[in-house]
């Protein structure tokens, strides 16, 4: 009999999940607990999972920790409050492309700037899945969505570049195809004391894949395999070869800097206050 691993990290009585067959969210969710498993400092009782609204954000309900399913776009502010009130807790945010880069965009960039010690994992499926397939800020130009029936004309966000420019101290990307790599990228984020951002590209066969004739879930994952380029190789690619749908994955940025809470401890000291 095959041993089912990581079972303890999930609320068995709330499974099966509501995600569609072939959805990549479950892979990304499991990658998070695989990363947690590698970190002795992270337990089910000292780690809080915070999510927004959308397909990705339903993950919090399945995970056996203290979990918080917030309002659309607002996961990072809630997580900020938790971390500042209880710095001893590890706080992980699960969000989606609409949640994080559209309605929550302001919170996202300011979370990066503030460098609160959070690990934010963006499940990027390039579409609003929960509401039935509308275009998001990461829907590529020309791709179809229910609100872009003739192809999207909106230019896209590169969430990793956005995070780095806004001040995140750890920025990485991986995909639901590259599972061990994704786990490592998340684990690196957990190690960073500061705002860590990991974009996990996930397939949405029901809304995005179907609209854009990408075939089965397996085909969508093969698309990830064929188009994702490890950062080291990507950096050596001449610009003329960075074409089509190719995109880089890997650790893009890591620069340790003082996190908000540590900085605030100095404020408390300057004010002459005792640490609670």
């Amino acid at each position: 009999m095959i041993e089912r691993s990581y079972e303890k990290y999930f609320r068995q009585n709330h499974l099966p999940h509501l995600w569609c067959p072939g959805c990549g969210n479950g892979i990304a969710m499991k990658a998070i607990v695989q990363a947690i498993e590698k970190k002795p400092g992270f337990t089910q009782d000292n780690t809080v999972i915070v999510s927004g609204i959308g397909c990705s954000s339903r993950a919090s309900g399945y995970m056996n920790f203290d979990t918080l399913h917030t309002a659309h776009g607002r996961a990072i502010p809630f997580a900020t409050g938790i971390k500042l009130a209880r710095p001893d807790l590890n706080v992980i945010v699960i969000t989606g492309d609409g949640d994080c880069t559209a309605i929550g965009g302001n919170h996202f960039i300011h979370g990066c700037r503030r460098n609160v010690d959070l690990t934010v994992v963006l499940f990027n499926n390039n579409i609003y899945g929960m509401t039935g397939g509308q275009a998001s800020p990461t829907t590529p130009v020309g791709k179809k969505a229910t609100t872009a029936p003739y192809g999207s004309v909106d230019r896209t966000f590169d969430a990793c570049k956005l995070a780095q420019a806004a001040g995140a101290t750890y920025v990485a990307r991986s995909t639901a195809y590259h599972v061990p790599h994704l786990v490592n990228m998340i684990a690196g984020g957990l190690d960073n004391k500061g705002f860590s951002f990991i974009e996990a590209l996930v397939q949405c066969p029901t809304a995005y894949g179907r609209k854009n004739r990408m075939g089965s879930p397996a085909n969508m994952m093969m698309w990830m395999r064929d188009n994702a380029v490890m950062k080291a190789a990507w950096d050596k690619l001449p610009d003329e070869k960075k074409t089509g749908e190719k995109f880089p994955i890997g650790l893009f940025y890591s620069q340790s800097d003082i996190d908000y809470d540590t900085a605030y401890d100095e404020v408390i000291e300057r004010a002459g206050g005792a640490k609670k």
């Binding site: 809080v48 309900g61 203290d66 399913h69 607002r74 009130a85 300057r270």
Partner: protein, 382 residues
């Protein structure tokens, strides 16, 4: 030696919050509430608490809800435009039963309106601003010292009922400076954070209501592994698509407040014992109305005043009793007519209810209220 200090309403609010045990404040600058945030930024680190200036009004509301769930008593302060932006998360706090205090120092609206001018135009937004059916507790102080006391009361009520409580101030009281003598900390009653009474092994469910219908939700990081959501949920905290659970949840949210209404709702009466007519007022306007009543009394008019200290739940019983006692009620408020609708409803035709409103960015002059008192009493002021 007197311990009196010259203090502003907004400062008293911040000091009251610290005394009540608030240890986390998130805010965004907005006139005329900014001094609350500024004072918290100065005082919180002195007591080991934390202040964070967030990127916008929505974020500051989100941050205090997160901090409260992690066990810190939390507060945010704003004015009309910011209050509008926070409405979604006020509803979240009501449904997910997260204790928090939100201060609204009212200014003239709608929209950007008149930023530094007094108004009491948020009375109905406080009650109905967020979508869906929900209860609401809102208190409105009329002095600097009362701002201090009511902030403590607001924090205590939010903790006791696990619900958002609004401290509904106005620019008059927020920017008013008075000599106040603050109580000794030993005299201040603090309602502590509710704690689970059972372990998971004993069948603890985070949203199971206690005898007072309020759940003892565990703080994060206590090992209970709870789930909190803005979706309608059952006692376990997890969402369910059941009509019965939905109806029961909405009903319980209201009932937990309704059944304690007599304890929550507070009014204060002035010269009402022998009064034939009454003024109903609250907040900064009640100060002016009080002067007007004093003047009218000097002229022989038998008029008194009922001051609403609690705005929501509305003081139905006090107003109904007043309407049966007097021959007419005058409602004075700095808006186009909001609380007057509630007074009219509660009076239920027992006596006429007249409205004395003002919305020109100026506070009332006592004369303006006094002349309407005289008109109500059927006598011209000599």
């Amino acid at each position: 030696m007197s311990k009196a200090r010259l203090m502003q309403g907004n400062e008293a609010c911040a000091e009251g919050a610290i005394a009540a045990g608030v240890r986390f404040f998130a805010g965004y600058p907005i006139t005329p509430s900014t001094e609350v945030a500024e004072t918290m930024a100065r005082l919180l680190p002195k007591v080991g608490g934390k202040f964070v200036q967030m990127e916008d009004e929505i974020a500051s509301m989100g941050a205090i809800l997160g901090a409260s769930l992690a066990g810190a008593k939390s507060m945010d302060a704003t004015s009309g435009p910011g209050f509008s932006l926070k409405q979604e998360l006020i509803g979240y706090a009501a449904l997910a039963e997260i204790p928090c205090v939100l201060v609204d120092v009212q200014r003239v609206g709608p929209s950007t309106g008149q930023p530094t001018a007094p108004s009491q135009g948020d009375v109905m937004q406080v009650r109905w601003g967020t979508h869906g059916d929900h209860p609401m507790i809102a208190l409105s102080p009329w002095s600097v010292r009362e701002t201090y006391d009511m902030t403590i009361e607001a924090v205590n009520l939010s903790e006791r009922f696990r619900t958002p409580v609004i401290l509904l101030m106005d620019e008059v009281v927020g920017h008013l400076r008075e000599n106040v003598e603050l109580p000794d900390p030993s005299e201040i009653e603090i309602y502590p954070r509710r704690q689970p009474k059972k372990t998971r092994a004993e069948g603890y469910e985070p949203f199971e209501p206690d005898e007072d219908l309020v759940p003892n939700v565990a703080d994060f990081g206590k090992g209970y592994r709870i789930h909190v959501t803005g979706l309608v949920h059952d006692d376990t905290g997890f969402p369910v698509g059941s009509p019965k659970v939905t109806a029961d949840s909405i009903r319980r949210l209201h009932e937990k407040i309704a059944r304690a209404e007599d304890e929550i709702v507070k009014t204060e009466s002035y010269f009402l014992d022998d009064a034939d007519y009454a003024v109903v007022a609250f907040g900064g306007t009640a100060r002016t109305a009080y002067e007007a009543v004093l003047e009218a009394r000097k002229k022989g008019l038998k008029v008194g005043m009922l001051r609403l200290k609690t705005i929501w739940p509305f003081a139905d019983k006090a107003v109904a009793a007043l309407a049966k006692q007097v021959k007419g009620i005058l409602v004075a408020e700095l808006n186009y007519g909001q609380i007057v609708q509630e007074v009219t409803r509660a009076a239920a035709g027992a006596c006429p209810v007249e409205f004395c409103g003002k919305y020109n960015m100026q506070a009332f002059e006592p004369d303006e209220i006094e002349s309407q008192i005289a008109a109500l009493c059927g006598e011209a002021v000599k």
